[in-house]
Amino acid sequence: MEQKTGVRLSVNNIYKTFYSKSDEPHLVVDNVSFKVKENEFLVILGPGNCGKTVILNMISGLMERDNGDIELDGENVTSPNPKMGMVFQKMGLMPWKTVMENVEIGPKMRGVNTKERREKAAYYINLVGLGGFEKSYPHQLSGGMKQRVGIARAYTNDPEILIMDEPFGQLDAQTRYNMQNEVARITSQEKRTIIFVTNNIEEALYLGDRVILLAECPARVKEIYNIELQRPRDMIAPMFLKLRKEISNNTDLAL
């Protein structure tokens, strides 16, 4: 925590190549560098299949990088670190557990006592707007509600850096707007360092303090945008749309 006001995560010149069965190399991440600051909402934006998830997997220590450095608070990242928490596109809720049991799983695994972890879980269940659904099972919830459970679970585990990998990719356009509002609201109430990955320019502009635009495969940083639009943001405002168009024109089309 020594760098509370400065850079939390620093990614320097990372590379990743995969090999096909016939040993043909396939470069997926090509010299990517960026920094994540304390309490920043950083969006990584890129077209489909451009290697966004591979970058996240390397940052979170789930996958080895071929080259380059990743440092969290000045320390080299080589394996998953409890300071970082993930929300995935496929939520991975446990269908045999209630909302409460799903949300409290992180602190439970770390041996936090029942009272303390339930209080914390209840706080975040309320914060995502699911108060009253603590005893429901995932199959009783809509897609948007399940995704909220995933978000509450990630917050309850209290990561210092929250990583969200296309969390709304499977939702319909309106439920997606609803979830974007929720995340913007929660973030304004509770500052946290967030890395949010998406292929949706509108979503990136609505949520991000900074947007890192990636090129189509292999992923490399094409441009970094500082988003200085006032919050809460209006997606139909001329400034918003102008910036959206600018980024869109700079984005590769991955047919």
Binding site: P47, G48, N49, G169, Q170, D172, A173, Q174, T175, Y177, N178, N181, N199, N200, I201, E202, I236, P238, L241, K242, R244, K245, S248, T251, L253, A254, L255
Partner: protein
């Protein structure tokens, strides 16, 4: 553009047991019109579409094509769903031929029409490939091409580009407009995405919450290609958003 009504929907109502999903919906679609239908999540859009495709029977009301009750055995109805549904055991070219063969079209007509679609969509390099080798977007392009190929009396599209990123979505929407203009098709396109509806439609029907009725009809009289930053465009988008916003 003719003013003749191709499709007439009269007093369509649907109950699932006691659940009232669709309430007395009536509207017409002109020949060659591009109509979009929007409504809040869960309002019954898909039930609405399934009634139009005759996949499920209405509780009451009826659907007429060219003045006769719609019948899949008589009329050409084509659908495109959100999940790409190319036949996995057929190449792109054979997928495009599929509907035409079922309709028993002569070989030279099939060949001519498939070539036209391959050319329009730029699918030359994929023509002999199987769907599993294609990206999701190219598979969906194949399915869209297949639907237009049969010259349907009515083409129904249910959120075909729901999961695409915005840049891709606009590219595919431009293709649909190209096909629609080229073949003068009659299209009903259902979506959650208001911006998409304003980009595509000549006319938009706004559905209410369940039981769904037509709340309002909006004419979109903007030149193409449309620009999502154009104030006239955003004005329509904002108006429709206000009509259905729940988020």
């Amino acid at each position: 553009m003719s003013n003749k009504n191709k499709i007439e929907v009269k007093n369509l109502t649907k109950y699932f047991d006691k659940l009232h999903v669709l309430d007395d919906v009536s509207f017409n679609v002109r020949k060659g019109e591009f109509l979009c239908v929007v409504g809040p999540t869960g309002c019954g859009k898909t039930t609405f579409l399934n009634l139009l495709t005759r996949l499920i029977p209405p509780t009451s009301g009826d659907l007429f094509i060219d003045g006769t009750p719609a019948d899949p055995k008589v009329h050409n109805l084509a659908f495109v769903f959100q999940e790409p549904s190319a036949m996995p055991w057929l190449t792109v070219e054979k997928n495009l031929e599929f509907g035409l063969k079922i309709k028993g079209m002569p070989k030279d007509v099939i060949k001519e029409r498939v070539e036209r679609i391959i050319k329009l969509l730029g699918l030359e390099e994929f023509r002999n490939k199987y769907p599993h080798l294609l990206s999701v977007s190219s598979e969906q392009r194949t399915v869209v091409g297949r639907a237009f190929a049969i010259f349907p009396d009515l083409l129904l599209m249910d959120e075909p580009y729901g999961q695409m990123d915005i840049k891709m979505r606009y590219y595919l929407e431009d293709e649909v407009i190209k096909l629609w203009k080229e073949f003068d098709s009659t299209v009903v396109f259902i979506t959650h995405n208001i911006e998409e509806a304003v980009y595509l439609a000549e006319r938009i029907l706004i559905l209410s919450n369940k039981p769904a009725t037509i709340k309002e009809e909006v004419i979109v009289d903007l030149p193409r290609p449309r620009d999502f930053t154009d104030p006239k465009f955003t004005e329509i988008r904002r108006h429709i958003t206000e009509q259905i916003k729940w988020w």
